[in-house]
């Protein structure tokens, strides 16, 4: 669609409504928390967020996010591939199940992990702490962020169609070569988009990690759990400061997404243009 300048009064009205809505819903609360963090001055803010437990909490958060991102990148791609390229009964149901982690409360995922990996659980390994420790939290974040990469890749893979792959195959190309040289480049944007969404979600994960981790300061406390705790401690500067940093990290990633999104939109118009030939 072509972009035009607003002409009629109704255009201005619509823009105005949306602008007010967005500012009231998103802009003002964001400004409020930045104000809250700077309430006691910038020195206090810096001191609060460079405390060792804050730094450690961020280390845990970033570690979990990167781990889940890396794992789900590969696993999500694999899952998307099998769900799109393979034919078997019950595929529809499985495709729908990919969205399940969106609806299952993260708290339940944490609780399930404690059942499975906690003391006496059937997958618990003596002397290897999984529940109430980082491995359990990693598993929790992987589960919770599972859908993102798969969901992004599946439509692209489906729209791509197997003709190119089969074409290459008949010309003698090996499966792996085909995948690497023909399929993967097409999926790059979707993969990166899914990865960025995974990171964003993982950075903000709270329910699952507080249940499965036990909120042990210095061990299983993520940035979000720290914020929760800091609020309890009335450490508003620390809480809001950590919140801003966490959001800031995400925003950097979102910049990447936005650039990719614009790329994806113009690619859509390009491919739909090609398809109509």
């Amino acid at each position: 669609m072509r972009e035009v300048r607003p002409r009629l009064p109704i255009h201005y009205l619509l823009i105005g409504i949306v602008a007010i809505y967005a500012i009231a819903l998103v802009g003002i609360p964001t400004a409020a928390i930045i104000g809250g963090a700077l309430n006691k001055g910038i020195a206090a803010l810096v001191m609060a967020v460079t405390a060792p437990d804050v730094i450690h909490a961020f280390e845990v958060t970033v570690l979990l996010a990167v781990g889940a991102g890396a794992f789900n990148l590969v696993a999500g791609l694999l899952l998307a591939w099998v769900l799109v390229r393979h034919e078997f009964r019950g595929k529809q149901l499985l495709i729908a199940l990919v969205d399940a982690p969106f609806v299952i409360s993260p708290v339940i995922i944490g609780a399930v992990l404690i059942i499975v990996f906690g003391r006496g659980g059937w997958l618990s390994i003596p002397n290897v702490p999984i529940a109430f420790a980082l491995p359990g939290m990693m598993i929790a974040v992987i589960i919770v962020t599972m859908p993102f990469v798969a969901r992004e890749v599946m439509p692209v893979l489906a729209a791509l169609g197997p003709e190119q792959e089969e074409g290459a195959f008949t010309l003698g190309a090996g499966r792996w070569y085909t995948f690497r040289r023909i399929v993967l480049p097409e999926l790059r944007i979707a993969l990166l988009y899914g990865l960025a969404l995974t990171f964003s979600r993982a950075l903000g994960e709270f329910g699952a990690v507080i249940v499965v981790g036990g909120a042990i300061q210095g061990l299983t406390e993520t940035a979000t759990v720290y914020i929760f705790r800091a609020l309890d401690d009335r450490n508003t500067v620390g809480a809001y400061g950590a919140a801003i940093i966490l959001a800031g990290l995400s925003v950097i990633l979102l910049n990447v997404i936005e650039r990719l999104n614009r790329r994806r939109l113009s690619r859509h118009t390009a491919t739909s243009g090609a398809a109509s030939e």
């Binding site: 060792p52 730094i55 450690h56 961020f58 280390e59 970033v62 570690l63 996010a65 990167v66 890396a70 404690i114 990996f117 906690g118 003391r119 659980g121 618990s124 002397n127 702490p129 529940a131 109430f132 790059r188 944007i189 990166l192 990865l195 960025a196 990171f199 036990g214 909120a215 042990i216 300061q217 210095g218 061990l219 705790r229 609020l231 309890d232 401690d233 009335r234 950097i252 990633l253 990447v256 650039r259 990719l260 790329r263």
Partner: protein, 350 residues
């Protein structure tokens, strides 16, 4: 240009991954390298600030005495939830909880094998009492338990299924009525339950632990909060615009602390853990607890005349024996078919 964007995004991703790996690999204090040791403390929510001061003091003393560097990992949550977490796999070397019952749950799970109640103080490291917090200038004129039965009124107390503090609060109200200190209600178990019914009708937010419960009150919800005396006093000291109201009759809260045998033996931390627990009973530590408005147990500190101003005495102060001890209480009052559980269900639909 597509390649440029792709390259940039890849660079961002790579940079972040590198950052993460570096951060994770960087040395930080939480590692338990020999001979440095890590101790894990699982406590109820309320004494967080006290332990924040106690732990550095202890680690310094321990370093001076043994040359060994100690790092503490701490977790604070509702007493009941915490006990369940420890049973479920949270490897705590030391537990400091609100209720005897919660420690006994850990004993029942086979994790504590020694008699933690041996010793002068029966394993209780701090005391407190149940008091009431009201808004500045007491607009609703709350003077005693009886005023909590008036309608309409919003009363804040935590959820007894997760919070030890909530159970103490309910027992205090129950006991006061049972013992005849709430006018209009029979000096009997029945009278006590009738008073609780009226009280429960006024309950609003049920938070998961004592600390969160107070914070909800602080945010402006409710007319009166039932909580530990020390939580209320600390809040007043921090400048919150509230007042404390001492009822005529209340229950003595005794908070236990114990070493978890299976964990300390697994981690090889027994000496340090036991030393920490013993440290908590020393006059220095007890004075720190007093600073955070806990009532001390150690005889010399407790005998200090100056404490009388900080901690008033009561017309009627009863203990858990009023109800026959925690084992009985846990089963008959707060258990699945317990009296209070049933009452709360009927009144609150839980």
């Amino acid at each position: 240009m597509f390649n440029q964007i792709r390259r940039n995004s890849l660079r961002v991703v790579l940079a972040l991954s590198l950052l993460a790996v570096l951060l994770a690999a960087a040395p930080h204090g939480a590692r338990a390298d020999q001979p440095d040791l890590t101790l894990t403390l699982a406590a109820y929510s309320v004494p967080r600030a006290a332990y924040a001061e106690l732990i550095p003091l202890f680690t310094k003393q321990w370093l001076d005495k043994t040359g060994q560097k100690l790092t503490f990992q701490q977790s604070f949550a509702g007493s009941g939830a915490q006990a369940r977490a420890v049973v479920g796999g949270l490897d705590a070397d030391v537990v400091a909880l609100s209720l005897e019952t919660d420690v006994n749950a850990i004993v029942k799970a086979g994790l504590i094998s020694h008699d933690w109640q041996k010793g002068d103080y029966k394993g209780f490291v701090t005391d407190s009492i149940v008091a009431l917090a009201v808004r500045k200038d007491n607009p609703k004129h709350i003077k005693d338990w009886i005023d909590l039965a008036q309608h309409p009124l919003e009363v804040i107390t935590p959820d007894p299924t997760t919070s030890g503090g909530a159970q103490w609060n309910i027992l205090a109200a129950y006991g006061a009525a049972r013992r005849g200190f709430v006018t209009g209600y029979d000096k009997s178990d029945d009278g006590g339950l009738k008073f609780l019914t009226e009280l429960f009708k006024n309950l609003t937010v049920l938070d998961k632990d004592g600390q969160s419960s107070y914070l909800t009150f602080q945010k402006g919800i409710g007319d009166v909060a039932i909580n530990y005396e020390n939580v209320i006093l600390s809040a007043i000291a921090a400048g919150d615009e509230i007042e404390i109201v001492y009822p005529t009759s209340t229950i003595l809260i005794e908070n236990p602390v114990a070493v978890v045998d299976t964990v300390v033996d697994k981690h090889g931390t027994r000496a340090a853990a036991e030393a920490f627990v013993n440290f908590l009973f020393t006059p220095d530590a007890q004075r720190i607890f007093v600073k955070y408005d806990f009532r001390p147990v150690e005889t010399t500190v407790a005998a200090d005349k100056l404490l009388a101003t900080q901690f008033p005495t009561f017309t009627d102060l009863f203990k858990i024996d009023e109800f026959g001890g925690w084992d009985k209480v846990s089963k008959e009052i707060f258990g699945k078919d317990g009296k209070v559980t049933a009452l709360l269900n009927t009144v609150k639909g839980q």
